[in-house]
């Protein structure tokens, strides 16, 4: 009795902690989401929480006119009370109302009262700009203005997909073969080779950029899809191999032995037994690799570049901000659009995590 109460208590604590962490993650995301619907000028002026009903100081319509040649550096007298200029800049409380400069130059103070404010000003402009391209206003020699439409995200979206799908499938395929060999085949140098591959995990990919770029240049692979598939495959392989090895080596030996006795070749075992059994592992490492490639900026920056024909989403989004960062508000909506694909992949593959394929596979 007492024990189960204790259990329950600790469970509540865990839940509270988890809930708190979730909140920590969710609040900024929510803020970003709301910001993506706000006009640029609003984002600059107020925080995203202002879209919710809140208490705010409002003009009551009354103003106090002070003498025009008042010296602002001296204490200022308003209706018998004296304030400093700084106080009036920040707003000062007098009998439940607030006094604040309305127009310092005209020496007018406005009287403000507290009240509810609820006027969310939301717009889809950010999404329109990101999806269908920005409009650039250009002046013609005769003084008129013409509007030129920029390109939207669609081209970059297909480019990214063209890169991400093979760059996910190729390394996983190679790594599964390798993992099977490392786990179940006996050949000389197996352990050494495996250690070398694992050691590759600690090499930061940045150190490889220039040497690989040199080789790509001599092979003519720069700026081509093949080049970036190879680059992503190579950078991804150590981790994927390690991950697949961990999973495949845990599969029960009896399974293969019975298959061998039935006369199955290694390839049959791999394609008929290993692959179906390791779907959960394939799905989870697939998500990892896909996310990494989808969000990648550095590798694409170096190996594929920014030509419109091959440009990936992350680079297109960075360009949206403009040469001097003048349109950074577009990042809010662009971030959500680029998030859609990884989310879709995640929810699509998520059921494979849960479904334990191993259940009952050897008992029968």
């Amino acid at each position: 009795m007492a024990r189960s109460a204790k259990r329950k208590g600790s469970k509540t604590i865990v839940n509270i902690v988890l809930g708190f962490i979730c909140l920590l993650w969710l609040v900024p995301t929510l803020g970003l989401f709301i910001s993506s619907f706000r006009p640029a000028a609003d984002i600059l002026q107020t925080g995203w929480w202002n879209v919710f009903p809140h208490q705010a100081w409002k003009q009551s319509g009354e103003t106090v006119q002070l003498s025009k040649d008042l010296d602002l550096r001296q204490p200022i007298e308003v209706n018998g009370k004296t304030f400093t200029d700084d106080q009036l800049k920040q707003g000062v409380m007098v009998d439940g109302e607030r006094l604040m400069w309305e127009n310092r130059r005209q020496r007018t103070l406005s009287v403000m009262e507290r009240g509810w404010e609820f006027k969310p000003d939301l717009t889809l402009d950010n999404y329109k700009n990101v999806l269908s391209g920005k409009e650039y206003k250009l002046k013609n020699p005769d003084g008129s203005e013409s509007v030129q439409k920029g390109t939207g995200l669609s081209q970059a979206f297909w480019n990214t997909l063209t890169i991400a799908v093979p760059a996910t499938v190729i390394p996983i395929l190679i790594a599964s073969f390798a993992a099977y060999a490392f786990a179940w085949l006996r050949f000389p140098g197996r352990k050494t080779l495996f250690v070398v591959i694992i050691a590759m995990l600690v090499i930061p990919l940045q150190v490889a950029l220039i040497p690989v770029l040199k080789d790509f240049t001599s092979l003519g692979l720069n700026g081509s899809y093949l080049g970036i598939w190879l680059a992503h495959t190579a950078f991804g392989l150590p981790l994927v191999t390690y991950f697949m090895y961990n999973f495949i080596s845990q599969l029960p030996r009896d399974l293969f032995e019975s298959a061998f006795i039935d006369g199955a070749s290694h390839f049959t075992i791999f394609s008929r037994l290993i692959l179906p059994l390791s779907v959960p592992a394939l799905a989870s490492i697939g998500i990892f690799q896909f996310l990494w490639v989808w969000n990648d900026y550095l590798v694409s920056l170096i190996f594929i570049g920014n030509q419109p024909g091959v440009q990936v989403m992350s680079m297109k989004i960075a360009d949206l901000v403009g040469s001097r960062g003048n349109d950074w508000h577009l990042l809010t909506s662009a971030a959500f659009i680029s998030m859609l694909m990884p989310l879709a992949i995640f929810f699509l593959l998520q059921k494979y995590f849960v479904r334990g394929l191993m259940g009952g596979s050897i008992k029968g």
Partner: protein, 474 residues
């Protein structure tokens, strides 16, 4: 016994693996070197033919310069790759300005813009994947690449007489950099920005009865008057993400040019005159006269560091204006509200001189185009970029000043731009933004950081100057 044997076998295997790996690596490296050495003689040959062409041209007959040949359609169907930092609206403007050239010559200029230009260009050049032409907004960066000998010397590529006729000598001097063996002409200037400008809301400024100051003292009087009238005069913001502090360096450079000789400025930029010298200190002190007076700055001194440089001009366009003056280069107009009209709602005046003996110096910045691959069509494009024609439509749409002399003033669509171009042409001293010329560690490092620390109050002036100087020391 058996155990040691397997151990030994393992060890041998590891050794073989390591060896084969290193051999593979060195083989790759070797192959690459050979590949790199191969094309090297070609530019030299080209250089020679280029000279001949130039000579032939001078002789009155011959085939003409690469640009003339290109216009005749000699290089039809060729491609020239270009890499630069401008994206988005600027990229559209750039592409419009080269469209006519591409149609006439049949050369396809493939421009690739990247926000990460500064970081990428080094990797690309080192990796042997340099673009034909690269656009450097920071000559300091080009200078460091020029030292490696990978930039093509333009001295024999372009007709020097023509260049001298078409550029102010200061521009040509700024394009001369240290190559691998001696001085080379590392690039040509194509776009420029003017930095010594103070923006103000014209209509309200005139209504309030203020007058454009002609001297620094008049400007300070105006500042004081605006403060008495109830507004802070200046709106200043230096926040810019990782580059926070750069707009503060522009102020120091502008004041340096007005309080000391151009020679001292050059020395300072080269690192010969330390930050801790009285000249630099005085410049920062003059700046502090405005910056550190909370009555003169919108939001007070403490808001300078937290206000984004692009948002800083916004109070000028409130009605009534919350601040009246904003010193920034001409590019800032792209941050102004779309409804504000040049020459009507806003205008600029020249940041007034402090010491008469230094005349009217102008601080500029700009883009220098460097050439990495020597092919005839690339030469033609480079030559095209030395003409005003190459930037005509951009000039007309506003936001840039052409550094070439053959860009007439009537190309500028607004009075404001025209006056800027005139200011540059008539300047007594033309100096490039110093922080862009200094090595990155100083110009884009300690200088920014030191100014930010000083303005935010975390460092005293002397400490901050020492900190800025430390960039040179290590």
């Amino acid at each position: 016994m058996k155990k040691t044997k397997t151990m030994g076998r393992k060890f041998a295997l590891l050794l073989v693996l390591c060896l084969s790996f290193t051999m593979m690596l060195s083989a790759c490296g070797g192959g690459n070197k050979a590949a790199k050495n191969d094309p090297a003689p070609t530019p030299a040959e080209n250089g020679a033919t280029g000279n001949n062409q130039g000579a032939a041209n001078g002789g009155g007959e011959g085939t003409g310069s690469p640009l003339d040949l290109a216009l005749k359609g000699e290089y039809k169907g060729t491609k020239v790759t270009m890499f630069g930092p401008f994206v988005d609206a600027d990229q559209v403007k750039f592409e419009n300005s080269i469209k006519e050239f591409e149609e006439k010559t049949g050369i396809d200029i493939q421009y690739e813009g990247s926000k990460e230009f500064e970081a990428t260009i080094n990797v690309r050049v080192d990796g042997g994947n340099a673009p034909d032409i690269a656009d450097f907004p920071q000559p300091g960066l080009l200078a460091s690449i020029a030292k490696t000998g990978k930039v093509i010397d333009l001295t024999n590529v372009l007709d020097q007489e023509k260049l001298k006729a078409n550029y102010n000598q200061s521009w040509l001097d700024m394009a001369t950099m240290d190559g691998k063996d001696g001085k080379i002409m590392a690039g040509i200037w194509n776009r420029s920005n003017v930095k010594s400008l103070v923006w103000y809301p014209k209509k309200q400024f005139e209504e309030a009865g203020y007058e454009v100051p002609q001297t620094w003292d008049e400007m300070m009087t105006l500042t004081e008057q605006i403060a008495k009238d109830g507004d802070p005069a200046w709106s200043i913001g230096i926040e810019s993400g990782a580059a926070t502090g750069w707009s503060a360096t522009d102020w120091v450079e502008d004041i340096m040019l007005r309080t000391t000789s151009p020679e001292n400025y050059d020395k300072w930029v080269k690192g010969e005159l330390p930050f801790t010298s009285p000249e630099v200190k005085r410049a920062v002190e003059i700046m502090s006269g405005i910056w550190l007076n909370p009555d003169y700055v919108y939001g007070g001194t403490k808001s300078i560091v937290t206000t984004a440089f692009g948002d800083a001009a916004a109070p000028l366009f409130d009605s009534p204006p919350k601040a009246w003056l904003h010193r920034q280069g001409n590019f800032i107009t792209s941050f102004f509200p779309e409804t504000a009209k040049v020459d009507e709602d806003y205008d600029w005046f020249y940041l007034p001189p402090i010491d008469e003996q230094y005349g009217k110096p102008v601080l500029v910045a700009g883009d220098i185009y460097a050439m990495f691959n020597d092919r005839p069509e690339v030469r033609a494009v480079m030559e095209f970029f030395t003409t005003g024609e190459s930037i005509k439509s951009w000039v007309q749409s506003g936001g840039v000043i052409a550094p070439m002399n053959d860009a007439p003033l009537d190309w500028y669509m607004s009075e404001s731009d025209r006056r800027m171009a005139k200011l540059v042409q008539e300047a007594t001293t033309l100096r490039f933004d110093g922080s862009d010329l200094m090595p990155g560690k100083v110009g884009a490092g300690t200088f920014w950081k030191g100014m930010t620390d000083y303005v935010s109050g975390t460092a005293s002036l002397d400490e901050a100057l020492k900190q800025m100087q430390s960039g040179w020391n290590n």
